[in-house]
Symmetry: C2
Subunit: 480 residues, 2 copies
């Protein structure tokens, strides 16, 4: 029986979990709030990892691995940090059958343990900058969980760097945000807004937090990556000092930045439709599926041979291709299945195609007969490669158009409320910078400040809530 | 000041930890028994990962990710498994500030949670074989720990597969052992003995365990990889069933197999010498270090330009190269440092070399002036590539020779005892198969059965301990 997902218009949340489970990206684990990332979902994550890891290494970062278990006392050393993370900790109290003298927490993030080690490793300015990244699992005891978006355990990368000056730390923080933007837009085909977090939304322990924000298919925002300038907060808490060129002992300036498996949730929600996933070719575990079609037994071997030939020629172009030669399913069932799984291109080949030395190529992002193309075998591989690029670009363009169509510049709060509590979307409005306006807006509309975009108008204006003079515009939205 | 490691002959254990800390492979973490894998050590692990992951994917396996936290009750479902792992568990009793209803254990290995999911995913013979691997961290509450060899937390890959028949599971178990052997020998330059574990040494819950065993520089054994045929033990405990081609419900046959960060410890101990690490080129994070040498300031730019040219030409041959242009260290200090770090080849270039359009190449595995070679710039890149292959092969040959020199075929127990309690080494002896002889030998010599090698003589013999008829020879040794 063909699988079917709940239409987005009927129940977006249900559509989301239907797609993830039916496309076999992930499944629920036996422990509340935990998930299993299935091979298809993990394949997607592996491409995310490769795309980011390559960029980290190109900019001089090296990977390392720090322990999962952190002494409980470490979390308490930075006052804002403990306030932010204490309520979310998983605590190990017993090991090897005995009660531990000091409980250990499972890392919710690693600033503390890494800070402790950096204090040991850094002595002089010659040891700086120290540029390390870690691919790891972390645990945060969340109450309301959703596959990929918020789970007790999740996978991520966390970069942690130490510098000799504030300016160098700030430069690094921005460099990594740019890397995240480039990754999200180029590889994920997800347009993002780069900006600064408000004080109330910044990372617990940071001096400034920056983020990239993306609009999901239901017009809510999702923070797709964050980069923090930690100032000297953690350096002071963990005593990370260096001798500068004048032989003076100074505290380091540190940063941290991360992207997590949440990003998979963003890919689902930005590109997916009522048929299921649509994966951007650059990250898709399978870029092209070949579906051979035959009715009579004597057609079978000819069609399969041609399908294998297509597979071979695409493999030689480094296309990630899968030949679905399963005999227990009909072609229509397979079409449905691979559409659900969001494979960007499908190549169909039947007996008449074999005779005419051709195949039919269908794009996942433009379903229906009208957009199918018949392509001669001779030019198939370059045509497929070009089409993959075209799908990648089209997905980006479509997502950008959708965001622009659903972003509203508002100057008064009644218009703000009407949109925020109505159709939803991004609200681009002047904000005076006060936490009380931020809170009042949130209470009235559930919209929070996603970021204060780097891209700002030249002139100042008036706060959308209080009407006071405001120097900057902020992006408000309900968010995941 | 130049770093110096304790000579092996003086204190092998101390040499081992000196090398690891001074070469910056790893460091001690603040929690007892935990370690930090530093960038240089993690770089080595990344090459181990790539070499294995490629082989897993070539044989049809896909990666996935299962949760860190397992309900305590799961561990108790397979009787041998709980007996083996219960004493080593780390237990989470509190989450989000509250006591949990059921404690959760941090995975010591994932057969149980994966078994639970497989029961959900597998319905018919069409779902088999299911071939999944996971790269993950695990925690085992060990009492006596050593960097890389035995730590509370370690990194590994664990493969978990399900099959329709015993024979297919057995075939998979052996296939993965062969992959481990090929990886260890081809990439790690570590010769291994393939064989079956004795009943007392097998994995808790397995029907048969197989392993690859390597000889370390102190003649002790280290298990470098294991592959387990789990029979239907976990399938029965977790109800993993499938409808066979006759529509009959059957239990699956499962396997599991793993290689961990222990392998890094093996690389240290098999190849290292009193100067430090010697890394096999195929896994070395840095394969070639270029050390420019100048005295007068006017020589500096010419030498550096030539060094950069060498770097470029080696990079274009995909050689992992590092140019050490640091000004605060003298060439001698750098030689010492890169020898400690085990970089396979060093290229030295000074003013006279620049004039003569040449460079000097030194092999890490053959220190001293005699083995340095002057190579013309024109042919440098291919020569370096060939030398890397030669170092790789030489390391393997040397390790194999060492193992052969220290393996003894013994037929009586007094000779066995003399060697085991004296110089040490691998003892290749007939064994009747009884656990009582195995235990008595262990008590008298601390030597355990590492494996019963696949490679056996045609004739039978007499047990080295009891003198009873014995069908097979076993490899006995003290072990890590």
């Amino acid at each position: 029986m063909a699988k079917k997902v709940t239409p987005r218009g009927q129940d977006y949340a249900r559509w989301y979990t239907d797609v993830i489970q039916q496309a076999e990206l992930a499944d629920y684990a036996p422990v509340r709030g935990c998930m299993v990332i299935r091979p298809y979902g993990y394949g997607l994550w592996e491409h995310v990892q490769q795309a980011l890891d390559r960029r980290f290494k190109e900019t001089g970062h090296k990977n390392a691995y720090f322990p999962l278990l952190i002494p409980e006392s470490f979390i308490k050393k930075e006052s804002e940090h403990v306030e932010g993370f204490a309520p979310e900790l998983a605590v190990v109290t017993h090991g090897g059958g005995k009660k531990l003298e000091e409980p250990l927490v499972i890392r919710p993030t690693s600033e503390t343990i890494i800070g402790h080690m950096y204090a040991k490793w850094i002595n002089s300015y010659r040891d700086l900058p120290l540029l390390i990244n870690q691919w790891a699992n972390v645990v945060r005891w969340e109450m309301r969980t959703r596959l990929f978006l918020r789970t007790l355990e999740f996978l991520w990368q966390e970069g942690h760097t130490a510098h000799a000056t504030y300016d160098e730390a700030e430069e690094e923080t921005m460099r990594m945000l740019e890397i995240y933007s480039d990754f999200a837009e180029t590889d994920g085909a997800i347009p993002v807004i780069r900006g600064r977090k408000s004080e109330s939304e910044k990372f617990a322990g940071a001096r400034h937090s920056y983020s990239i924000e993306a609009m999901m298919g239901d017009k809510k925002a999702l923070q797709a990556g964050t980069s923090h300038n930690l100032g000297q907060n953690f350096a002071q808490a963990f005593d990370i000092k260096f001798l500068d060129t004048n032989n003076q002992l100074q505290y380091c300036w540190t940063t941290s930045w991360g992207v997590s498996t949440r990003f998979v949730g963003a890919l689902v929600m930005v590109h997916g439709d009522d048929q299921g996933l649509i994966l951007p070719p650059r990250l898709a575990p399978i870029q092209v599926v070949i579906v051979p079609i035959w009715k009579k037994e004597d057609e079978r071997s000819r069609v399969l041979a041609a399908a294998e030939q297509i597979e071979e020629v695409l493999l030689s172009e480094n296309v990630r291709v899968e030949l679905d030669a399963r005999e227990q399913y009909r072609a229509g069932w397979k079409f449905n299945e691979w559409e659900l799984k969001g494979v960007p291109l499908r190549v169909e080949i039947g007996p008449r195609d074999v005779e005419n030395r051709q195949a039919v190529v269908a794009r996942r992002d433009r379903p229906g007969r009208a957009d199918k193309k018949t392509v001669k075998m001779e030019g198939l591989a370059p045509r497929v490669v070009a089409l993959l690029d075209d799908v990648q670009q089209s997905l980006y363009d479509r997502a950008l158009q959708f965001r622009e169509d659903n972003t509203y510049q508002v100057e008064d709060f009644s218009a703000f409320q009407e949109i925020a509590n109505g159709t939803g979307g991004f609200l681009d409005a002047y904000w005076c910078g006060s936490e009380s306006c931020e809170t009042a807006i949130k209470e009235a509309t559930k919209a929070t400040i996603r970021c204060i975009p780097f891209d700002q108008p030249k002139e100042s204006g008036h706060c959308v809530f209080c009407g006071q003079k405001a120097a900057e515009r902020a992006i408000f939205s309900r968010a995941y």
